[in-house]
Every structure is written in structure tokens, then in C-alpha cells.
């Protein structure tokens, strides 16, 4: 018996298209070097030109949202690590922020600053991973190793802080699990000082490279209106020229107290999105430096009840600016220590929606550039 679900995919596709002799159906993924995980794209191609691109997801579905309901609020943080597994700290931050709103906890200032530092470090490391894979998809091999060199330093910083490198579990509703270890700020400061010159190094290889420009300028143009219609957020949206950044628009944690610019693109093509992300790394670095300077003394954990319970029918949405876009948690409580329902707004999933629009009429070679530029993590798309 065929699954009705799978059947409807096929039917929807063949009805919508006229079949021609020259067309070929190509399954791109789920095991393919350029799909960054287990994304499957069903392509209709005419030679190398893409007529239609149909993303099929769910190969990494683990039922995370259901798992949230089975555990108390404070035990759910590790689940968020495993969604966008290259940006665990921002996922943690979004989740604990939502819980704090729901339960009504006031986070002490020191914890806020440290959280900001961790989140921005995570943004840099996520962007580094994006740049590494984006460049290698387009064929430039060397930036990959350069990016991993710096990403390693950030992972070391995380390891020194909480013992984990990838699935950090580094925040708790109400604050932080640990204070900064001795010497951590110095190591972090050394990284912050060295990092801008490293970004110059990556840009030296790519930004003015003729081939890089040829491969990215004018490829996958997403104008501001379409971007908003698709609900695209993060660097994807800002690349299209919309100046929308939750860190500025609805400041959370310590973002209100630091200065930084929000870079925006002009044309909404792959090159602009590249430039936006490069500048974001620089700005994130600036934020970290300011936070380290201003780091207040004090406790790192709010006064919180032994068992956190939400009021009956309390609901809350809390979204923050993750490296890939707006990551938000919508939590409904029912008076028990567990969430009644927890829905995630995953930026990767929503940004991925724009991929068929971006790839229309492009070549297969552009497709990999566009998968790179949407910066998806399948753990978050499928949850």
C-alpha cells in the first residue's frame, strides 16, 4: 500500500507541469554532498536548467515538539540544542526566554550579558560554518579550512564554559548554569581582537574574486516584498534590503545596551546575502567586545521556584534573532510543570520555503549556491 502522503506529493507535481520529452526528473539528495544534511530536492530539469524544484523534508524528523510536552520546562533545554545543532546557544536563549516570560522570572544583569556574549559567539560560529560550506559548494576549497580554524577557537571557548562543544545546553530558565570560569574573558578577548583580521582574510579570498562575483551576483534574487510574503527572516531578509533585526527592533538580553549596526543588502541576490553575513560577523564581534567591557558583577541565576509551573492557559511567544533568522518558541501552559504545547518557529524551515522561488529558471550549479545561501540546518527544518 502506498502512503497517501507520498502519493499526493507526486500527483501535485505532475499535474502542475506539462511534460516534455527533454525534461528529466532528478532527485537531488537526500544523500548528496551539497544538501547540507538530508534535504531531498525533486527537480525537473531541462538540460541543466531547473524548471521546478520541490523540497521534500522530514528525513530528520524526531518529534521534538512532542518531546517538549513530556518534560518539565527546565529539562527541555537539551532538546533545543538538537534542532539547529550548529547554533545551540541561540536556540537555548530563545527557549529559556520564552519560559522566563511564561513563568515570570527576572534574569540578573550579569547573566544577561554573558548570554549575549554566548549568543553572539554562536552567531559567529554559525556564520563561519555557513561561509565554509557555501564557499566549498561554489568550488572554493580554502575558505573552508580558514573558517574551521576560527570556529574551533569558538568551540573551545564553549567547551571551557560548559564542557560541550556543539550541544551546549548552556542556559537555564532564569539564568545560567555556571559563572564564567577563571581566565575565560581573557581568552575570549584575545579571540575578539584577532577575529576581524581573519574576516578580512576570508574576504580577501572571495569578496573581490571575479569568479565568486560571477557565481553570486544576480543569482537567486529575492526582492523585499517576496521575502516578506514568504516570511523569510534573518540575513536572507536583510540581504533583500529590509532592515529588520529583532536585536534592534525588540531588544532582549543586553542588546539594548550595546552599539552595533544592522547591515542590509540592496539587490537581494546571493552576493548581497554573503556581504550581509560577513558584516554581521564583524558586528557580532563588536557586541562581544562591548559586553565583555561592561560585564557587571552579581548573581547569574534569578530567584526561581523549585518547580516551575505556568499558569493555566498561559501562553507566550518569544522570538529572538538567531544566526539564521527569527527563532521563536510558542509555549502554552496548563498549570503543570510541563508545557501543554510547545511550537517552534524555525528560521531554516521558513527560509527553505523560498528555495523553489529562488531556483526557478536557474542552473543546477546555482542550486547549490542557493541551498548554501538559504543557510538551512535540517535538524531545525525537520525538528
Amino acid at each position: 500500500m502506498t502512503a497517501p502522503f507520498a502519493q499526493s506529493f507526486d500527483d501535485g507535481l505532475s499535474d502542475s507541469l506539462l511534460h516534455r520529452e527533454e525534461e528529466m526528473e532528478l532527485n537531488f539528495g537526500p544523500q548528496h554532498p551539497a544538501t547540507h544534511g538530508v534535504l531531498r530536492l525533486k527537480l525537473k530539469v531541462d538540460g541543466e536548467r531547473i524548471i521546478h524544484c520541490y523540497p521534500i523534508i522530514g528525513y530528520l524528523h524526531r518529534g521534538t515538539e512532542k518531546l517538549f510536552e513530556l518534560h518539565p520546562f527546565f529539562q527541555n533545554v537539551p532538546h533545543t540544542d538538537r534542532m539547529d545543532y550548529v547554533a545551540a546557544a541561540t536556540n537555548n536563549l530563545a527557549y529559556v526566554g520564552a519560559v522566563e516570560k511564561l513563568v515570570g522570572l527576572v534574569v540578573p544583569p550579569r547573566a544577561r550579558y554573558i548570554r549575549t556574549v554566548l549568543a553572539e559567539l554562536q552567531r559567529i560560529s554559525s556564520h563561519l560554518l555557513w561561509l565554509a560550506t557555501h564557499a566549498i559548494d561554489i568550488g572554493a576549497m580554502t575558505p573552508f579550512f580558514y573558517c574551521f580554524r576560527e570556529r574551533e577557537l569558538i568551540l573551545d571557548l564553549f567547551e571551557q564554559y560548559c564542557g560541550a562543544r556543539l550541544t551546549l545546553n548552556c542556559m537555564r530558565p532564569g539564568g545560567l548554569p555556571h559563572d564564567l570560569p577563571v581566565g575565560w574573558t581573557e581568552t575570549c578577548r584575545a579571540f575578539v581582537e584577532a577575529f576581524p583580521s581573519k574576516v578580512d582574510e576570508y574576504e580577501g579570498l572571495l569578496t573581490e574574486n571575479r569568479i565568486w562575483k560571477k557565481r553570486t551576483i544576480g543569482v537567486g534574487v529575492l526582492d523585499a516584498e517576496t521575502a516578506i510574503d514568504y516570511g523569510v527572516t534573518g540575513p536572507m531578509l536583510r540581504g533583500s534590503g529590509v532592515k529588520w533585526d529583532l536585536r534592534k527592533a525588540l531588544p532582549y538580553e543586553a542588546y539594548g545596551a550595546v552599539e552595533f549596526e544592522v547591515p542590509v543588502g540592496k539587490n537581494g541576490d546571493t552576493y548581497d546575502r554573503y556581504l550581509v553575513r560577513m558584516e554581521e560577523m564583524r558586528q557580532a564581534n563588536r557586541i562581544i567586545a562591548q559586553c565583555l567591557d561592561k560585564l557587571p558583577e552579581g548573581p547569574i541565576m534569578a530567584k526561581r521556584p523549585r518547580v516551575m509551573k505556568a499558569a493555566k492557559e498561559a501562553e507566550v511567544y518569544h522570538g529572538i534573532e538567531g544566526p539564521k533568522g527569527e527563532i521563536g518558541f510558542y509555549i502554552v501552559g496548563d498549570g503543570t510543570p510541563n508545557p501543554y504545547r510547545c511550537h517552534v518557529r524555525p528560521p531554516s524551515f521558513i527560509n527553505l520555503q523560498s528555495l523553489p522561488e529562488l531556483t526557478k529558471g536557474q542552473l543546477i550549479a546555482d542550486l547549490v549556491a542557493l541551498i548554501g545561501t538559504t543557510d538551512i540546518v535540517l535538524g531545525e527544518v525537520d525538528r
Partner: protein
């Protein structure tokens, strides 16, 4: 000539020796002491150099400084299973890698890595000097593309097929500027024989890279495209087409494709050295003050010059992103072919003016 060769010559007689024995020995020596080690260690050099460029170490586990790594790789590929996809066209699937490797090896027979024999009783530094040497090379280099197309088609995989088609389009469009670029030095030398071209450079007193700088760069770029190397590695673009035309190949058949790619790199470098960098000649071949450089034998000069090209190949790979298919075609047809034609025209014009039409 070493003593044992001398005794063979006495035993079989001059005719037989120069027509059969010495070519056979040269082929064996060339193949086993020159081409195969060069190819295997080119892979090692590539990994090492790329490693240095990319803040990592490269192979360093097998043998001292990883020097035995290529041997370990070859051994591994030799004993690996050769799988054939169930729906593949078997004979074509087997034929394809041979078509890539064979011609690349044969080309070495006309490449002079050193000076010809001065007098009887000395051996020349090449297998043969064909008076249509350059045409021979172009003709053989073209056969390699069939290997890629057939390999891509016979695998019965969509990615392989697309890789094969890409390589067909790419090689056809880049063979034209490559051939045209070779016309420049040809006009200056007035001969197709590779030995003749090198000797003409000696007579002219400069390497042909000086008057033919345009042709040189066209040849270099087209050569990179011919060998499917970065930034023109579209047929095997691993992020787009998995592995292009050799997606379905494994074991020794894959190794043959691999070997073919590196052999072709060496061929392109060797031809460029011969045509543009004066082959086995020392720098400034006619400046007497530098005669001390003659102390270094010709083949060493040849290797050094070739190494420059091979390093450039690796350097490109460490630096450039990949072109897109249509951009590659644009570059070939809209820039390089007109440029190559203009170069031929200019060369002819200058030659005519300097020689005043008196041939």
C-alpha cells in the same frame, strides 16, 4: 651511454639497436621511472601544497613525511572491488577509463625532455621526434574526451550523464582556443616538430613566452579547462554532480580516471614548457655569461619549468571558486577564441613585416 647498453649495441648491431632496442628501453624507463612516479607523487605534492595553503598538514602518517602515502593509495585502489552498476553498459564502462589514460601516456613519446643525441653512440632524451609532433599531440589529447563522455553515458546514472555532457561541451570549446594558441609559436618556429621548436627558440635567443605571451596565457587557461581542474572542474564538480562522470566508478577503474587527470596535467605542463619556456634550454640560452648554467643538465631544467606549471595548477585549486557552465562557455567562445585569432593575425603581420615578405 652506460656499459651494458654499449654491450647490447655490440651484440645486436647498430640498426636493430637504434630501431628497436633503444626505443623499448626508453619506453620502459619513461613509463616506470618517469610518468608513473611523477603522477603518483604529483598527488602527494598536491595534497601537501594544498595542506600548506589551507593551514593543515597534508598526508604525514605513511612513511616519513607521508612519503609513502601515494603508494598506499595505489595499493588500496588496486585491491578494492571494481563494482559495475547493474544497468551499466559493461564494455563501454570498462573502455572509458582506458580511453582517458592511454592517449595521455602515448603523448609522452614525442615530448623531448632533453636534447637530441649529438653524435652516434649517444642516446637522445626522447623516444621519437615526429615531424608532425604538435598535431600528433592535439590529435591524441582529443581522444581523452571520449573517455569522459562514454564513461558518463555508460554508467547509467543521471549525475554521470550530466558530467559527461558537461565535459563534452567544455572540452570541445576549449580545444579550439588551445589549438589556436599553439599556432603562434608554430608560426615563429616554422616547424611542427617539438625538438625543432625548442631548437628554434635557441636560435631566436629567447623563449617563445616573450613574443607569444598572449598565446601562452590562452594555452594555460585552456589547458586547465582541458584537464578539468579547478576553476573549470565542472564535469566532476563534487558539490553539484556528486562526482560527475566518475560517480559510479570504484577501485582501479576510478584510479585510472584519476591517473588520467594527473597525466593530462603533466602533458599540458610539458607541452607548455616545450613551446613557451624553451624545453630543456637553460634561461637565456644564448647569453654566454650565463654558460655556467649549462652545468645543470637539460632534463633538470625541463622538470623545473614543468614544476612551475604543476604548482600553478595546485595553486588555482587552492584559490578559485568554480565557474558556472554558461560562464565557462562565454569565456571560451567570446574571449579566448577571438583573442587567439587576433594573436595569430598579429604574429603573422609582425613576421611578414620583419621578414619583408621574403619568407
Amino acid at each position: 651511454m652506460p656499459g651494458f647498453l654499449e654491450s647490447i649495441r655490440h651484440a645486436v648491431g647498430d640498426t636493430l639497436f637504434y630501431w628497436a632496442v633503444s626505443p623499448a628501453i626508453k619506453i620502459l624507463v619513461l613509463l616506470f621511472l618517469f610518468i608513473l612516479p611523477l603522477i603518483t607523487y604529483l598527488t602527494y605534492a598536491e595534497r601537501k601544497v594544498l595542506g600548506w595553503m589551507q593551514v593543515r598538514r597534508g598526508p604525514n602518517r605513511v612513511g616519513p613525511w607521508g612519503l609513502l602515502q601515494p603508494i598506499a593509495d595505489v595499493m588500496k585502489l588496486l585491491v578494492k572491488e571494481d563494482t559495475t552498476p547493474s544497468r551499466a553498459v559493461k564494455w563501454a564502462f570498462i573502455l572509458a577509463p582506458c580511453l582517458v589514460v592511454g592517449p595521455a601516456f602515448v603523448i609522452f613519446s614525442v615530448i623531448p625532455i632533453g636534447p637530441p643525441a649529438g653524435e652516434l653512440g649517444k642516446l637522445s632524451w626522447f623516444i621519437t621526434d615526429v615531424n608532425t609532433g604538435l598535431l600528433f599531440i592535439i590529435a591524441l589529447a582529443t581522444i581523452g574526451v571520449y573517455g569522459l563522455i562514454i564513461g558518463g553515458w555508460a554508467s547509467n546514472s543521471k549525475f554521470s550523464l550530466m558530467g559527461g555532457l558537461r565535459s563534452a561541451a567544455q572540452m570541445i570549446s576549449y580545444e579550439v582556443p588551445q589549438g589556436l594558441a599553439l599556432v603562434g609559436p608554430l608560426m615563429l618556429a616554422g616547424t611542427l616538430s617539438l625538438v625543432g621548436i625548442v631548437e628554434a627558440q635557441k636560435k631566436a635567443g629567447w623563449w617563445y613566452i616573450v613574443p607569444q605571451i598572449v598565446a601562452f596565457f590562452i594555452y594555460l587557461v585552456a589547458g586547465v579547462a582541458e584537464t578539468n581542474r579547478n576553476p573549470f572542474d565542472l564535469p566532476e564538480a563534487e558539490s553539484e554532480l556528486v562526482a560527475g562522470f566518475h560517480t559510479e566508478y570504484s577501485g582501479m577503474r576510478f584510479a585510472l580516471f584519476f591517473l588520467g587527470e594527473y597525466a593530462n596535467m603533466i602533458v599540458i605542463s610539458a607541452v607548455a614548457t616545450t613551446l613557451f619556456l624553451g624545453g630543456w634550454l637553460r634561461p637565456f640560452p644564448n647569453v654566454v655569461a650565463l654558460a655556467v648554467l649549462d652545468w645543470v643538465p637539460g632534463p633538470i631544467w625541463f622538470f623545473l619549468k614543468m614544476a612551475i606549471f604543476l604548482f600553478a595548477y595546485i595553486w588555482f585549486r587552492g584559490t578559485f571558486p568554480r565557474y558556472r557552465f554558461d560562464q565557462l562557455m562565454d569565456l571560451g567562445w567570446k574571449w579566448m577564441i577571438p583573442l587567439a585569432l587576433a594573436n595569430i593575425f598579429l604574429t603573422g603581420l609582425v613576421k611578414l613585416m620583419l621578414l619583408g615578405g621574403s619568407r
